[in-house]
Symmetry: C2
Subunit: 291 residues, 2 copies
């Protein structure tokens, strides 16, 4: 451990905020880890589960004297919470977030503060579970997972260093990229497959003339659609906050499907084999070996 | 156990044929379970793994005196094997298969025999693994899985009864439907998601300008694309043998994506939430609870 903080405040003690808090608390990374949220029962549960040391229902008290504030609220609540934070921001306080779309978070920060404060470090841990809420929080959620930071020209390198250090302490592999590249890559690798999975279940659910086709599904379908059991509010917010890249990748994907339809309609066995085989090889190489 | 057969012959001792054989062998369902295939080393391995009792490299010897012949070859080899079987068919011999598309198998049978023999029972166990080959065969592969039989008007009810009995003995839940309905349902629930998964990996693999985006994927992507690690030859054959239904469902799915694109482009948060939430509810109801 290279640093120790006096006080870390977690705004939004759910799965992600709670796992961040719980991990750092177990490591003794701060004298106090304080939770803030709208629901006292959730915060009480967070204390009971050893996720946070204590909690505040008043934002001013929650962030007062904090070295670092982690904002782990849904994307849809980002602008509002930034505006509420503004009067309490001190020059020493590092702010960071965990939102799944980064250009929109930076816009929210810009809108709330009139500029991007140098101590704001936009971040996104690529980790999650189907389950949400503080009861699902676990100290090793980020172990061997990527965390992407998207600092801008204004961002203090010292703040980036502290945030990097915290994520690394939790076992994450931290990388940096532009917010635009982040949103593009996440649209392709995460937002697209989530929408595809929701779309498939919706499609089959809508074709009542087929009967309950779900009864004829097997393990492949179960795994393919696992992410369609994700939280609908979170995914609505992501779709609304990264629309350009998501729309673009959905269209790329439609073009891919047009190609597949063409191959199927024209009985292009060799081309179908080649496409399937290359995809299998790419997945076996990049995903399976990654472990 | 209600019946005991003298001899069962397995044509194509891979994952499916091997699991069928191994399960029935453990149950003592036949005096002899004989394997037939093109590769002596595979058949020797099948004997060593207690999957079959013995094997024959000559088709005539393999099926001679068999009460039941299970045809578990790739869809692409179906017509050829049926033609080879024709001279050896006796009235007492029940024939059944495990192909993933049923109208094309029935066409192959029709082509080979000039009609659908009454003792042919088209079947499809909805079970599988990413791994293929006899070494992956296991006696409980079909336990609690669906097996769909698609008898036609010509099919002997006695033959259907025997085949049903064997699958039930292996723990499967047997249902009957028309070949056309089977192909429609399987296109929607299995062939479509497989092509979608292959397509997604192919799409990302083709966009080299993004760099290796696979490194930023997490568990959701891994599960979503698991079926893209399936055997390319098998899936080429399925695509070639159920093209009408697959093409139709790919087009239905493109329309679903057009709807999603429209919602994203127009920031329709309520409609996105509703679609995601209904999909989540449908999956949680029909897939998760099914276990």
């Amino acid at each position: 451990m290279t640093i120790k903080l006096n006080k870390i405040t977690i705004i939004g003690v759910g799965l992600i905020g709670g796992s961040f808090a719980k991990g750092l608390k177990q490591l003794g990374y701060a004298d106090a880890i304080v939770g803030y949220g709208r629901h006292a029962d959730v915060l009480q549960q967070a204390v009971a589960l050893d996720v946070i040391d204590h909690y505040e229902m008043d934002l001013s008290a929650a962030v007062k004297g904090a070295d670092l504030v982690l904002i782990a609220v849904p994307l849809g609540a980002m602008t509002a919470i930034m505006k509420q934070l503004k009067p309490h921001l001190t020059p020493e306080m590092i702010l960071t977030d965990v939102g799944s779309a980064k250009t929109s978070v930076l816009s929210a920060v810009q809108e709330a503060f009139g500029q991007i404060p140098s101590q704001f470090v936009a971040g996104h841990p690529i980790a999650g579970k189907e389950k949400s809420g503080v009861e699902a929080a676990c100290a090793d959620l980020f172990q061997n997972h990527k965390v992407i930071l998207t600092p801008t020209d204004e961002t203090s390198s010292k703040a980036v260093e502290v945030v990097t250090d915290l994520w690394r302490a939790l076992g994450a592999e931290v990388s940096e990229m532009t917010p635009e590249y982040h949103d593009e890559v996440l649209a392709a690798t995460s937002h697209l497959p989530h929408l595809l999975a929701f779309g498939l279940v919706d499609l089959l659910n809508d074709h009542a003339e087929l009967g309950n086709v779900f009864q004829y599904t097997a393990g492949g379908f179960r795994d393919f659609t696992r992410i369609a059991s994700s939280d609908a509010t979170m995914w609505r917010d992501i779709a609304l906050n990264n629309p350009t890249a998501i729309s673009k990748w959905l269209k790329h994907y439609q073009a891919e499907l047009s190609h597949l339809i063409d191959l199927v309609d024209n009985q292009q066995g060799d081309a179908l084999f080649q496409l399937f085989d290359q995809a299998k090889t790419a997945r076996d190489t990049h995903i399976v070996r990654k472990g």
